[in-house]
Symmetry: C2
Subunit: 206 residues, 2 copies
DNA sequence: GTAGCATTCAAACGCCCGTTTTACCTACGA
DNA sequence: TCGTAGGTAAAACGGGCGTTTGAATGCTAC
């Protein structure tokens, strides 16, 4: 299986991501993680130092990439001459959507991310703020330029609502059932379309 | 403290709610719960049978009431002659807001509810669907009447987005910091206002 | 080939978990 | 007044937890 192609560290990160998504940080034990990764129990403490630090590394591996993709998509949208609000929203939402569809655990990671929000852990919040703060600022500036009549603070509130709805949608919290005959890819693309249309109207609200 | 005025069962439920909100279902132990409730460890298994069942009772205690309040607020809004979309949204959002401001643990409960979504547990989903399914159907019908041009399935998607944003906002996931000089009550009222305005525009989107 | 280092391994450490047992209160109807 | 049922108490059960240890292994450079 994985054992052949990936290093011990990578196998641990992958297995941890899956199990944290399914069972939570407290609910998934290192014995379960190392068994799924097909490595020795002591490997976690050897390579990562502690369970706490393993959790952080699970985040870091994905967030840097998502970060970069969002900013890149935003710059591309801003460079297009006639780009509208929906395109800016797409730059924010689509990279997250792509991640959730990624082979190799991205789908599990968005659920881990949703759990992180629910954990309400201060250290984790600081970590996320450090990693995401400047991204949100950049998007805020771009949206503010497109919505000059909207109060700046009001815009912060609304972007916060968009982020909430996106987190919720990505982690598949909702009650909307995927119909048979619709692939997961199609389901998520439809999710993104609905979300963008809804959010664009919400941002344009008087 | 509580010991004087509440029964053993009530003290356990209250302490469990607080600790589940803070540490999660797996993260909070029965030893922590019973110590906080100032009761004997064995009392949980005596009164509730198991930790699993205690979790269910923590939900049941609050959900029945929230359920009833939402439906009552909806009926009242529908009976008012000139009631608009914002009033229907208020009937959905405000009871949840009130619960989150409730003395005696409501604020903790909304975070427990957010954790429940993140848990993605099938048994818990069925429990929530059984308790909430008819409420969502009732709201869907009311919104459909106010938005006759909107496709029924599209409306389901949009209500799902509203529910997501609400869950996120209630559990205080967002990055919006409460300013000094603003009480928590005021902060949450402002939250609801922003959410209703945003959601109303999103629902009306073409 | 062997010295040196990074990695893997099995085993054990002390601790905390959910649950059960058994004895002990305490109030109330017969 | 006594028997009894409902509640509380302390202690123990087996088992799983994160972490540490020290020996065995593989790999690279000389």
């Amino acid at each position: 299986m994985n054992s052949q192609h990936f290093s011990t560290k990578e196998r641990i990160l992958g297995a941890a991501e899956q199990l944290f998504a399914r069972l939570g940080f407290a609910g998934a034990s290192l014995r379960q993680v190392t068994a799924a990764a097909n490595v020795n129990l002591a490997a976690v403490n050897y390579h990562f130092g502690s369970k706490e630090n393993l959790i952080n590394e699970v985040f870091r591996r994905r967030l840097d990439e998502l970060n970069a993709h969002r900013l890149q998509a935003l710059e591309e949208a801003l460079e297009r001459p006639g780009s509208d609000l929906e395109e800016l929203l797409g730059a924010f939402i689509n990279p997250a959507l792509d991640l959730s569809l990624d082979r190799g655990g991205g789908g599990a990671f968005v659920r881990v991310l949703a759990r992180a929000y629910a954990e309400h852990n201060d250290a984790l919040r600081k970590f996320l703020s450090d990693n995401y703060g400047h991204v949100m600022k950049r998007f805020h500036a771009a949206f503010a330029q497109r919505l000059p009549d909207l109060d700046k603070e009001e815009l912060y509130w609304r972007l916060d609502i968009v982020a909430g709805a996106l987190t919720y949608a990505m982690a598949d919290f909702g009650v909307i059932k995927r119909k048979s005959g619709v692939t997961e890819q199609q389901h998520r693309e439809r999710s993104a379309e609905h979300l963008i249309r809804f959010a664009a109207a919400g941002l344009r609200a008087p």
